[in-house]
């Protein structure tokens, strides 16, 4: 288990997440892509902490911030999905061609 291997795994997760976020039509699946990208980011953050900082505890704060970002993204994302669905009955990306009307 080396830092390089961990970062490659994180890059793979990020790439898959990017593919999902770009390709999925449904809002919820799109958010799953974003979550997967954040998953890779979290892994990279923990990997950097474990292998480059000699265990300085400040390094884990970045991972905690990434987790907070995940929670924020999920909550606000679902709230936005609900709001958009109420307003326009839309649940796929194509339904939102314009910002207004």
């Amino acid at each position: 288990m080396t830092l390089t291997a961990i970062l490659v795994v994180a890059a793979a997760l990020f790439g898959i997440g990017l593919f999902g976020a770009l390709s999925q039509k449904s809002f919820v699946m799109l958010m799953m892509g974003l979550e997967l990208m954040l998953n890779g980011t979290l892994l990279a953050a923990v990997g950097f902490w474990a292998f480059t900082l000699e265990g300085a505890p400040k390094g884990q704060l970045l991972a905690i911030l990434v987790m907070a970002v995940m929670a924020v993204e999920l909550a606000i994302g679902f709230a936005l999905v609900v709001a958009v669905y109420r307003k326009r009955q839309a649940d796929v990306v194509e339904s939102l061609g314009t910002l207004k009307q």
Partner: protein, 228 residues
């Protein structure tokens, strides 16, 4: 031993992450994403980031339950009973994903990464606790306040606009005349699974005016600027 566990968890994390966008059933996709997160939490445990790993597992288990619920609510095909294609710009997305992976991998391999691994026997959990409630308390509390603001924002976004707006959802107001049609919001009959955003939004904008009765529009609320 650690290496074997790491490679197994990595393979499972990547495989389940890939399965997320390949299964037909949305619930299976949700659980695949959860498996991916749990594997990353396990890798964090292997790297003796105990707090991060366990918190990831707990948080993601709950998050994926919520996500599964929303899947059932919003997806046209939550059970995956019939195969369907729900992707757009497929080739471009595959290209972007592969380009991101290759680019990041090349960057990782080309970088001369520092090597100061965790000293054996260091009590990382104790250190992290002291750090969180000591020197870095401001960062930790900022995350807490951010989450609080997120809760408020989520409630604001997902609730009806307020008592001057569409707060009468689900209620059946009395008729403007005895025995008449209920006043107010018309229920959308067209239903919305995708693909007709412009038309339905136009329909919904028309919902404010009572159509079936000629009594004056006495309902409080419906401020004009919220009709857009």
């Amino acid at each position: 031993m650690t290496d074997i566990a790491f490679y197994a968890l990595s393979a499972l994390a990547i495989w389940s992450g890939w399965r997320v966008f390949r299964v037909d059933s949305m619930i299976r996709a949700t659980f695949a994403l959860m498996v991916s997160f749990i594997c990353v939490g396990g890798i964090a445990l292997l790297m003796s980031a105990d707090y991060i790993g366990i918190a990831t597992v707990f948080m993601m288990a709950v998050e994926m339950m919520v996500m599964g619920l929303f899947m059932v609510m919003f997806m046209m095909n939550p059970a995956g009973l019939n195969p369907m294609q729900m992707v757009h710009q497929h080739r471009f997305s595959i290209g972007a994903g592969i380009a991101a992976f290759i680019g990041l991998t090349v960057a990782v391999l080309a970088t001369n990464l520092p090597n100061n691994p965790l000293p054996a026997g260091r009590d990382t959990l104790h250190d992290l606790g002291v750090e969180l409630l000591g020197g870095s308390m401001l960062i930790f509390e900022t995350a807490g306040v951010t989450l609080l603001a997120t809760m408020v924002g989520a409630v604001v976004l997902s609730s009806r606009p307020g008592r001057f707006g569409d707060s009468d959802a689900g209620a059946v107001p009395p008729g403007l005349q005895p025995g008449g049609q209920p006043a107010g919001r018309k229920v959308e009959k067209s239903g919305g699974h995708g693909g007709h955003g412009g038309d339905s939004s136009y329909d919904m904008n028309m919902k404010g005016a009572p159509k079936s009765d000629d009594a004056p529009h006495k309902r409080h609320g419906k401020m004009p600027e919220e009709e857009s």
